[in-house]
């Protein structure tokens, strides 16, 4: 009885460590203004296995860069995560840091969802999209 109690307490403690201190990591996609370069850095354990970038489109509205990214859920379960656009100028400096909020999104199994964003000003010519679970 005592042994069982100790074992339960140990398991509860272990799961507490794993759940309570989980770190959200991000996956990043970069698309340049010519639309040709695409670098995918997947450093998120859960999301890199389950998500893929199905398509990206960029265009200018006036002189502001408009970005569209189609995110696909490759897994058999519904994924709830957050995404955020990060805007960069031609020298790679981030523009309007914290200008956009993390936006919650939910994608059903094998479905693709499109997200869009418009650059905060005309100096932007490339962007990254970040996801976190």
């Amino acid at each position: 009885m005592r042994k069982a109690l100790v074992r339960t307490a140990m398991l509860a403690g272990l799961s507490g460590i794993m759940m309570g201190c989980a770190v959200n990591e991000t996956a990043t996609v970069t698309v340049n203004d010519d639309g040709t370069t695409q670098i995918i850095e997947s450093n998120s354990g859960l999301l890199s296995d389950s998500l893929s970038i199905a398509d990206t489109k960029t265009g200018f509205v006036g002189n502001l860069l408009k970005a569209q990214v189609s995110i696909k859920n490759d897994s058999r379960k519904q994924l709830n995560f957050q995404y955020k656009f990060k805007w960069l100028d031609k020298n790679g400096f981030e523009v309007a840091i914290d200008g956009r909020p993390w936006t919650p999104i939910s994608i059903t199994p094998y479905e693709s969802k499109t997200v869009q964003g418009v650059a905060p000003n005309p100096t932007v010519n490339s962007f990254k999209i970040l996801v976190q679970d």
Binding site: K3, V6, R7, A9, M10, G13, L14, G16, I17, G20, C21, V61, G62, L64, K66, Q82, K84, A96, D98, G99, R100, P101, W102, T103, P104, Q116, G117, V118, P120, N121, P122
Partner: protein, 199 residues
């Protein structure tokens, strides 16, 4: 048994070291998703501002209008028709800042009129300012457009759950012609279990 006790003590130590120790106050990401309660929050404010600014600066007639010049706009109050106390000026401040930083619009700040008037009066009347360097009256630029709107909500609840729906509408009116040049809307729906809510 001694071994089990030892492992239990180590595990307890690990729990305390990994989670319970550390500072009680910490800075967080201001743009992270905030779901403390069902009430209007920072994520709602940021989402509304981002969506409406994107809509406005990409609306074709506005793209044309702002292609070679930066129209002057003034921001009127946003009517809060919800049952909550919401600082709607904070929403319009964020929208105004984003529009200004886009390089597409300029603004006249009606909240600073009194202070500006007092400063100009001081420059003329005090005798302390070189008259040739004093700012002249009657030279300010008038706004061409007015930004205004409404915020409303529908709240529904039963014994176990609550649903909140927000609708924020923003409009751009041409002051000379009286024509509404653009309108944008952002809807937000949030649901929660009753026991976790505190509107």
């Amino acid at each position: 048994m001694k071994f089990v006790k030892l492992v239990a003590v180590i595990m307890a130590g690990l729990i305390l070291a990994s989670c319970a120790s550390g500072p009680k106050i910490q800075y967080g990401d201001a743009t992270s998703v905030e779901t403390t309660t069902l009430g209007f929050g920072s994520t709602d404010l940021q989402t509304i501002a981002a969506k409406l600014v994107d809509d406005l600066v990409t609306f074709p007639p506005i793209v044309q209008e702002t292609a070679n010049r930066r129209p002057v706009v003034f921001v009127d109050k946003i009517k809060n028709k919800t049952t909550e106390h919401i600082d709607t000026e904070s929403i319009t401040d964020t929208i105004q800042t984003k529009l200004l930083q886009s390089g597409k619009f300029r603004f006249v700040d009606m909240t600073a009129v009194k202070a500006v008037q007092e400063q100009m009066q001081f420059q003329i009347d005090s005798g302390m300012v070189d008259p040739s360097k004093a700012v002249a009256f009657g030279k300010q630029t008038g706004a061409e457009f007015m930004l205004y709107g409404n915020m409303s909500s529908i709240v529904k609840r039963n014994s176990s759950a609550q649903d909140v729906y927000y609708k924020f509408t923003l409009k751009l009116l041409n002051l000379e012609s009286g024509i509404m040049e653009w309108a944008g809307e952002k809807e937000i729906r949030k649901t929660g279990e009753k026991s976790f809510m505190s509107l």
